[in-house]
Symmetry: C2
Subunit: 343 residues, 2 copies
DNA sequence: GGTCATCGTGAGAGCGCTCTCACAGTCACG
DNA sequence: CGTGACTGTGAGAGCGCTCTCACGATGACC
């Protein structure tokens, strides 16, 4: 035969006939219901194997009113911002965790308001069992809207409002560990290049910087703080301004590796040796950090783990609706390289 | 009421009742069938609006035997290799094109053999209407397998075998334009750092280098050719070897920006000025190229467009099965920056 | 005015599955 | 031995939709 129906596969009915049992029994075996006799189970399993039976998801969904799929929403700006592969890594974590549960990942990448409306309609229609939102620029009304409609949502990254489950990396703690490391390395004037303050990671990393200085009894000097936009060029320009304003700085904590690379360029242009004159620590531990010269110390984030944890939280929320929102903060760890060698 | 069923929404039946027509008529209106009277159509549209009716995909799929979804398969190594955001960009293109057709994107990221088997089972079951495979390291038996089963497949990047539709970027042409640009800039000894030769982009870019030299009547000097692995460190080491072996080189075409950055580091270490002593052109036009110092010329690839074109091809193949495979090669364009200023 | 195509519409079957309910069989208990 | 609990199984309804077929109404044509 030519076109052996792609959608082909056998049906429950056929399996039942071959195994000499009812459809109901086959369904029980397939779905792992324990109240099935030994003989029947064996017969069904043999028949399933012989026919290469795979359940039809549509038929199942129709009656269970579950889709066995999870929507992952990645709004426009998020995919762009990062030079390092943040986005693929979260997806990998999510994909992993979903595969274990035999659930499907439906990816939605709205661009522009029209698209966002479409996405919202799609989600509101209940076409997915739950929603994971990977958003790093806060202020998205989507999660709250969906939750109001009774749809489970988990956000990746700290959302601005409360009331929604989320998983975040310990940005504050990570920043703190970087700054502490610089201080312990004998640095006296530790500057920082922060990220945009309307983005939670930007704000939280700066908070970690402040906190650590104050714990260490160091005064916070405004001249040692610059805010940039998480880009390479932004980091370069910020470092240049810092050098001009505070020529005596001897260390800098940069809130992203990409900015860190830019900062490195500015330091070289200003003929400051790294790490001899100025130590530098980045954030993200992207591949760039390792291959910079000198190799750049950086705060590593468990990004895949974030995806996995988001998924776990979501599945729990789907299975036990109505529970209060939860949050999970994942530890970072500092990877020390040459750029922050002690004085 | 408390739990206002998330999956709620109205049914065709209810819409039909409200509009005073049959279910069939509602179905026709919803699916854009033109043979419906003006009055009936208006009544249905009003009812749909009033009830906020959204068709149930599962029910529809069950009868049409279409899923209105497309699977995108990204095998393990592909997501990792690239420092620049190749992978999110293809996805964005695909997502875009699918959204226009109201189709869903199901993302599959198998890791390891067990996962790949699961993916294959899923696809073979016909749970998606077609498959897009984004693979850059060739030699995957999946596309051929699926096609044999009568499932539409389109591959992103040139696959090693024939017989499968694919969309690729004109790697050869892009490399040629880069090399031509260097020659026209007055460079006499143009070297290259190629990518792995078992990856089609690696091989094709090197072919473009060869081709252009021969067209220009230049001898191909084996000492001017190094193969690396698309990483920063690989590029650096390769450049170092080139300088040692052919100290008189005055230009280098590097098959990826990440390697190009590495090469830049090696050139600086060897105290060769860019572009005065040595000109350099990369490939990918990633954000890194722009922010390098000096800013690096690079071959830009239309990656989103690749995703869109893959989707178009796939949808055509789904709608008209049995047509012969097609291939689409997308043009690149050279972005000239400081690193390759003429002598 | 009869014949035939065309158009708009409705009735009804059925996609493949789950799940409730009923029922026969088995066993423990009084 | 009757009663009740429990276990394994099957019959059958029905999830929401599409699509075929049939049918009445309309208009074109001879």
């Amino acid at each position: 035969m030519t076109a052996q129906a792609a959608t082909g596969s056998a049906t429950l009915e056929q399996v039942a006939r071959l195994a000499n049992v009812s459809r109901a029994t086959v369904s029980r075996v397939v779905n792992g219901d324990r109240r099935v006799g030994e003989a029947a189970r064996a017969a069904v399993e043999a028949a399933v194997k012989e026919l290469g039976y795979i359940p039809n998801r549509a038929a199942r969904s129709l009656v269970t009113r579950r889709s066995d799929s999870v929507a992952v929403v990645i709004p426009e700006p998020t995919g762009q911002v990062f030079g390092d592969p943040f986005f693929p890594r979260v997806l990998r974590g999510i994909s992993d965790a979903l595969a274990e549960e035999e659930m499907q990942l439906v990816l939605l990448m709205p661009q522009g308001r029209a698209d966002e409306a479409r996405v919202e309609r799609y989600l509101a229609a209940g076409h997915s069992d739950g929603v994971l939102l990977v958003s790093l620029h806060g202020s998205d009304p989507l999660p709250a809207d969906l939750q109001r409609r009774g749809i489970s949502v988990v956000v990746g990254g700290r959302p601005p409002g409360a009331g929604v489950s989320y998983v975040d990396v310990d940005n504050r703690g990570g920043a703190a560990s970087a700054v502490r490391h610089l201080i312990e390395g004998g640095r006296r004037r530790v500057a920082t290049i922060a990220g945009p303050q309307d983005m939670p990671p930007g704000a939280d990393r700066l908070a970690g910087y402040h906190e650590t200085l104050s714990v260490a009894g160091r005064p916070v000097d405004e001249r040692l703080i610059e805010v940039a936009d998480f880009t390479h060029e932004g980091g370069r320009a910020a470092m240049q301004r810092l050098i001009e304003r505070a020529p005596d700085l001897d260390a800098v904590f940069v809130a992203s590796d990409l900015m860190g690379l830019g900062a490195l360029v500015a330091l070289q242009a200003a003929e400051r040796r790294v790490p001899d004159d100025v130590a530098i620590v980045g954030f993200d531990d992207s591949p760039l950090a390792e291959s910079a010269r000198p190799a750049m110390s950086s705060v590593r984030q468990p990004i895949e783990e974030m995806g996995r944890e988001m998924t776990r939280l979501l599945l729990q929320s789907i299975r036990r609706p109505g529970e209060p929102p939860r949050r999970v903060i994942l530890d970072t760890n500092l990877v020390v390289r040459q750029s922050s060698a002690p004085m």
